[in-house]
Amino acid sequence: MDPLSGDLAKAGDAKTPFQGTSNRTDTPGRAGSDQMKAQTTKLKASDVNFYYGKYQALHEINLDFSANKITALIGPSGCGKSTFLRSLNRLHETVRGARLEGKIVLDNEDILAMNVSSLRRRVGMVFQRPNPFPKSIFDNVAYGPMVNGFSGNHKHTAELVEQSLVRAALWEEVKDKLHQSAYGLSGGQQQRLCIARALAVNPEVLLLDEPCSALDPIGTAKIEELLFVLKDTSTIVIVTHNMQQAARVADYTGFFLMGKLVEFDDTKKMYTTPTKKETEDYITGRFG
């Protein structure tokens, strides 16, 4: 049965998921693991198990993130996708009792052995609710470079800030009010500001944890357009509750259920011919 005949095609989107937006000039390509092996792997998780104290939240996760592609992690609430995302930049270390076992490798470097600040500079994160600092727009974007020892003078910083805001598709809207508080922006603008802030340190990987869940459809569309452009310069991992978003945006999708990675494949292939029953059930909305 074709899952597309169900809710997916009707879900508020005028086009079917795979027509995508006009920005998308590449095609997902041939489905299947051959195509995936031909890509470069940017980030690789092997045998990852994760514990909160005694409770095991992730079981034997093995996952490769391809460079310059968008990988979506989908699954119902509590399935471990956010936990997994946060272990990719070792943010779990701020939680007492959280323990990661297994290996995660960024370009052949073990992230657990790296200096954590340099890791976080290379693997940036955007959170579910926009969280700009109570500072000016300029200072928000300049914060990342500043704490990472950026030694440029004011002119260089200003250029970097402008560049990051342009990449985040926010420059035109804020160029005249860079020194006003970030809190004066709308929710969608604040989230793009958070993206600009993350981009200012030129991360190789960008992790997004349900970045559009607090936004209206127009804000969501703007960010999705942004991601297509950003993947040319970085690798993107996006956790989303919204299956249609994954279908619109992602090259590859991983389906998580109860702490296990049930299926991982090219998005189009997974949505049209999922190999596991649980995947099919989730995608067709039998549970969620």
């Binding site: 600040s117 500079r121 940036g124 959170f127 109570p134 914060y143």
Partner: protein
């Protein structure tokens, strides 16, 4: 029954507000009439003579309070930072409890302790000793107020900074504290307002002085102690001046309180119940 409780609670509220207004009113009528330029500019005159002022007490109070702030606020602020940002639950409980106990120590006891620790070794009373005593009294409130305002800063800000590669202390210094700074400053002001009126510790530390107190190592006159000294004396003129001193002290404390509350109402993050 409802009517009874309503009347009872309403009456008590009226009594509370009424007491404040009564004290204010009394001080204004008795004290304001005794205020003149002499009060602020002249030294006390010998017993029995009329006139003179409390210039040295005002300056002495100012010096003691400045020193108290320099001692109490940094210790309290850094203690509050440790308490909220670094301490684990068990350690935090102990620190908070100890701080609350210190806050509960009677001010006169702090006075005699500082007498033993500072005045005796120095060999004389001094402004320094007064500053130390009031500084110790400022610490607990500073710790708790810093902790509360830091706690009110949402964790999402800390996460954002950490995710950008900032270390923990850098996050605290460049994001968390600036977000809480309005609250911390006003907390300090309220702390100052509280110790400004403390008399007992000063009796054993700064003692008093009929003349100007040069530097920091000499006994000094302070407003609260002058009120005490003048009020229990048998001279009418001294009583009049004591009222004036009480009025000035109260106005100072009220001004700080009102300013602090006003600033606080515009703070980004405040604990619930503060504004």
């Amino acid at each position: 029954m409802n009517v009874l409780m309503f009347s009872l609670t309403g009456l008590c509220t009226l009594f509370t507000i009424g007491s404040l207004l009564f004290i204010l009113g009394y001080l204004v009528t008795h004290g304001a009439s005794a205020l003149n330029w002499d009060f602020f500019s002249k030294l006390p005159v010998p017993v029995g003579e009329i006139g003179g002022g409390m210039a040295n007490a005002i300056v002495g109070s100012a010096k003691v309070l400045v020193l108290a702030t320099l001692i109490g606020v940094p210790i309290g602020f850094l203690g509050g930072v440790y308490l909220n940002e670094y301490a684990e639950a068990a350690t935090a409980f102990v620190i908070r409890y100890a701080t609350d106990l210190l806050n509960g120590v009677p001010s006169i006891v702090i006075g005699i302790v500082v007498y033993a620790l500072v005045v005796r070794p120095m060999g004389h009373f001094s402004t320094v000793a007064g500053g130390v005593a009031l500084g110790i009294m400022m610490i607990p409130i500073s710790v708790r107020s810093t902790e509360e305002f830091l706690h009110a800063v949402p964790n999402s800000l800390r996460e954002a900074a950490i995710a950008l590669g900032a270390s923990k202390w850098k996050t605290i210094a460049s994001v968390v504290v600036p977000a809480a700074i309005t609250g911390i400053v006003t907390g300090t002001m309220l702390d100052l307002a509280r110790v400004a009126g403390e008399t007992a510790p000063l009796l054993f530390t700064a003692l008093g002085n009929q003349f100007w107190s040069p530097g920091w190592n000499h006994p000094s006159s302070t407003l609260p102690v002058m009120i005490f000294t003048y009020a229990v004396a048998p001279y009418d003129d001294w009583h009049r001046q004591a009222w004036a001193a009480g009025f000035v002290l109260l106005m100072f404390i009220l001004a700080i309180n009102i300013t602090a509350r006003f600033i606080l109402s515009r703070a980004s993050y405040a604990p619930r119940g503060m504004v």
